[in-house]
Symmetry: C2
Subunit: 219 residues, 2 copies
């Protein structure tokens, strides 16, 4: 982990996050901050979302990873800008990193940016990036008891996507229980169930994204 | 996330970690630091390990969680000391927290302590707790590509336990590939495959633990 003096870091982060939000708004760009535990399926969901949306919207990806560009490499078939951020051991993206990405991307020529955060169910919750919505991809293999255990992430999420539903029948897990605990922690949260690698299960997700983009563009 | 001034924190942490290690050694207590992503199966593995070992060794649990004592509650059937640490949003245990636990536990009356770290594949790698060995529980549902993506955790682990092997046939995952990437990142690392909730698959794990405890007691 990179050592930084963290005094007032949240204050600065929130100010920069607000800056980023204003830049996105000024340029009518809709931005999703995609979060999850490692291996919950963010990259797969993003890949299928690119297949769905790149012919409808001008898109870009901001890709967060500790050291590698493994996830970003999965997106190179799409003719869109990909901005890789390596945190060098840092456990989350922050607003400053996104600010640097904005400098590099031509926001005026974009409609929709997906930010893939570092796989971590703790710290990304604390760092506002300036995105319009925070998406929490939750793999059903992670069990029934996580919404209260990792409450801040679940509280901050605008939508929780319960992923790997195709494996659920092989697990001893009550998905309704997971969903009701999410609602306990965050009553206004939208919850979807899907399998990110099965495009036929992604209709509701695409619909949610589309509506969010449209409602922003009408602001 | 709790905000702290982190200047020199690693230096202090390592000194305290060394202190803890010395305390454990002085009292002939063997200590495992159990790490993983959220929901990878640490708690289940610990629960079955308690069933296996509490009649052979004098054990205690140090339980790390953000806010709840949900995991600790699963251990109350066992007549052993359980020390709950709530990090209040912090993403890892540190040596100071373990130091406080040591003050509370009677080390002289213990053989074996299991520390359950916060579910996080990033920061726990950076904080030496003074444990004898670091165990990384890796759920096979997390995919093939994580050892290099979360390299520091895999490098620091003495043993990687690939968990949820019973689900592996339902996933499109090559377990040999995962194992060989672990060995690439950390050639000396022991790797086991098991299903933490199937005690009949835990023999090799129990054997490893037993040998480690015995080799420490001979030091």
């Amino acid at each position: 982990m990179k050592i930084k003096v963290l005094k007032n870091v949240m204050l600065k982060n929130n100010a920069l996050g607000a800056d980023n939000r204003w830049e996105f708004k000024k340029n009518s760009v809709f931005v999703l901050n995609m979060t999850s535990s490692p291996g919950a399926g963010k990259t797969t969901l993003i890949k299928n979302s690119l297949a769905e949306f790149t012919d409808k919207y001008k898109m870009a990806i901001i890709e967060g990873d500790l050291y590698t560009s493994r996830d970003a490499e999965q997106f190179t078939d799409f003719d869109i800008p990909i901005y890789q951020i390596n945190t060098e051991g840092g456990c989350h993206l922050d607003a400053k990193m996104i600010h640097a990405a904005i400098d590099d991307l031509d926001l005026n020529d974009l409609d929709f940016i997906l930010i893939e955060n570092v796989g971590n169910l703790v710290c990304p919750a604390a760092f506002d990036l300036g995105a319009d919505r925070m998406v929490l991809v939750y793999s059903i293999t992670e069990g029934e008891d996580k919404p209260k255990k990792y409450a801040t992430m679940f509280e901050k999420a605008d939508i929780v996507v319960i992923n790997k539903m195709d494996i659920a029948p092989h697990l001893n897990i009550d998905v309704d229980k997971v969903e009701s605990e999410i609602k306990e922690v965050n009553p206004g949260c939208k919850v979807l169930r899907l399998s990110a690698d099965k495009p036929e299960t992604l209709k509701e997700w695409y619909e949610w994204v589309r509506k969010e983009i449209e409602s922003k563009s009408k602001e």
